[in-house]
């Protein structure tokens, strides 16, 4: 009995991976093939981009502040509090900005995509769209993916800026250090590879969170309960995949652009 359950679970997992791969590939190739639904793209860009600004700003500010608080205590032991700015900016730009933005936006938008598309599936709206001769993948999925990739890129920049600002505020107001020194250190030690690394990641994370959200939404079964299940799966898998892919990407990018 237990072996049968394991076998069934393993088969389902393999099937899900296969279905997701096909779905993600079709959605990706649709990005380059007409018709491209620009109005839908703009609507989604507004929902995903502007709608997520508040959480990204708050997360960025808090994370930068925490980084400054934690690092200054440790750096003080070596008399190196002056490099707090460098530490915060490099950590935010190379790592925490992209990944925190990815996870936060995933919590907000992968779930919304899965529940919205899932509701459309269970109320036969997706079938109705297909019956009306419109490809739901092009009409609903591709604009969401394109909008997420685009907006996550800019949201990451906002998050980086807020993180550095948050670190600066803590450094000046709570650690009573020099603000100019903080900003100089934050700026002067930045190199192009750091910025490139930080801005390549959101492109992948945006694709992952939107394609996972849409994938689980589009394969929803089982009525309203199924919608809830899809939403949970979308958020969990998008977050886990973002963190896992971040590890792989960091490895690859550090190999391509090694730190000095």
């Amino acid at each position: 009995m237990a072996i049968q359950t394991i076998e069934k679970t393993a088969k389902n997992l393999v099937l899900t991976v296969q279905d997701y791969s096909l779905f993600a590939w079709r959605a990706f190739t649709n990005l380059y093939r007409p018709p491209i639904y620009w109005p839908e793209f703009l609507v989604q860009a507004d929902i995903i981009g502007f709608g997520s600004i508040s959480i990204v700003v708050l997360t960025g500010l808090s994370t930068g502040g925490v980084l400054a608080l934690q690092s200054s205590a440790t750096l003080a032991q070596f008399g190196a509090t002056a490099i707090t700015g460098q530490f915060v900016s490099l950590t935010m730009i190379r790592e925490l900005g992209p990944i925190l933005t990815g996870v936060m936006v995933s919590g907000r938008n992968a779930s919304s995509m899965a529940s919205e598309l899932g509701s459309m599936v269970v109320t036969e709206q997706i079938d109705a769209m297909r019956a009306l001769g419109v490809d739901p993948l092009r009409k609903l999925v591709t604009p969401r993916i394109a909008a997420t990739i685009t907006m996550l890129f800019f949201l990451t920049i906002v998050s980086d800026a807020c993180g550095i600002a948050g670190g600066g505020l803590v450094t000046v107001l709570m650690n009573h250090q020099n603000g100019t020194q903080y900003l100089n250190m934050a700026w002067e030690h930045l190199r192009y590879p750091d910025i490139i690394q930080g801005l390549v990641k959101p492109l992948f994370f945006g694709y992952i969170l939107s394609s996972i959200g849409c994938f689980y939404g589009m394969r929803t079964t089982g009525g309203t309960q199924g919608v809830g299940r899809s939403t949970i799966q979308a958020v969990v898998w998008a977050s886990v995949l973002i963190i896992f892919v971040d590890f792989l990407l960091t490895q690859v990018l550090l190999t391509l652009m090694p730190p000095i």
């Binding site: 109320t123 036969e124 709206q125 079938d127 109705a128 769209m129 297909r130 019956a131 009306l132 001769g133 419109v134 490809d135």
Partner: protein, 281 residues
């Protein structure tokens, strides 16, 4: 008619085929979802101008059969011809243009809840970038057909169940389809609203002569369709003289995924198949 006892095999060769060729042909279609077949070895056809009523209790695969007709589902075995084209293995992208020639009314209407009635009805026209003025005119015409002109700017959430079905019918009709598919259009509605919906279907049948496949488990709907015609002078449905039925309206019946009846109303009521008898009684 095809009826051979408890578990008969309807024969495709006996299905009515006119000179123009059937609009839909099913040949030995079988489909299953993780279990026993939902439909097994189903064969029938729909001729031009013909209205076929698919009867059967809930859960016998009627809606599945309807979704197979325009390729929303794919059969495991057998072949399906839509407008003469084999669609069983046709890629989804090639199916989209074919589907624009088919109007489909879903069980609960399946209206897009984030769009107004106008945008729902005009959905295909908007995709085809038809000018707004023409869209408005055609939507008003379609809504007038279903007697719901006043709902033009409303959202589906503010409509009753019957109104949603009528809007769904307007959406299916707006592009003058060559085939109409109705999935339990009266399911869950009160008798009065059901009759209104059936009257619209009779009106479409007698005014446009569009071939159609109607799925229902309500015998009274099927009989009304057969025993009535639309009178354009009176602008309403009127009963046919006693003993006269619409010759273009015929019946199919499913039992546990198998087609057990294919014939006219007269043949249906005379049927000796125990399942048909039980269903009729």
């Amino acid at each position: 008619m095809n009826e051979t006892g408890a578990n008969p095999q309807p024969d495709q060769e006996q299905a009515p085929i006119t000179d123009a060729g059937p609009v839909v042909v099913f040949r030995n279609v079988t489909i299953a979802f993780d279990g026993p077949p939902v439909l097994e070895d189903v064969s029938f056809s729909i001729a031009p101008g013909e209205t076929r009523v698919l009867l059967g209790p809930a859960g016998v695969g009627k809606s599945v059969l309807l979704k197979l007709v325009n390729g929303l589902l794919r059969p495991d075995q057998g072949s399906i011809l839509l407008f003469g084209e084999e669609i069983s293995h046709m890629p989804e992208q090639k199916l989209f243009p074919l589907r624009t020639r088919v109007g489909m009314v879903f069980q609960e209407g399946a209206l897009f809840d984030s769009l107004t009635v106008r945008d729902n009805v005009a959905y295909q026209l908007i995709q085809e970038q038809v000018p707004d003025a023409e869209i408005d005119q055609r939507v008003r015409d379609a809504l007038r057909f279903v007697e719901l002109e006043e709902t033009f700017d409303l959202f589906p959430a503010s409509l009753s169940g019957g109104m949603r079905r009528r809007v769904a019918i307007a959406r299916a009709l707006i592009r003058t389809p060559e085939l109409l598919l109705y999935d339990s259009p009266t399911g869950g509605l009160d008798p009065l609203t059901s009759t209104t919906i059936i009257e619209l279907i009779v009106k479409e049948r007698d005014v446009s002569h569009t071939p159609s496949l109607l799925v229902t488990h309500r015998l009274q709907d099927a009989f009304i369709l057969c025993n009535h015609r639309f009178d354009p002078e009176q602008g309403r449905m009127v009963p046919l003289p006693k003993g006269v039925t619409d010759p273009g309206t015929t019946f199919l019946m499913l039992e546990e995924g198998r087609l057990i009846f294919d014939g006219s109303l007269h043949e249906l009521v005379k049927s000796k198949n125990p399942f048909v008898r039980e269903f009729l009684e």
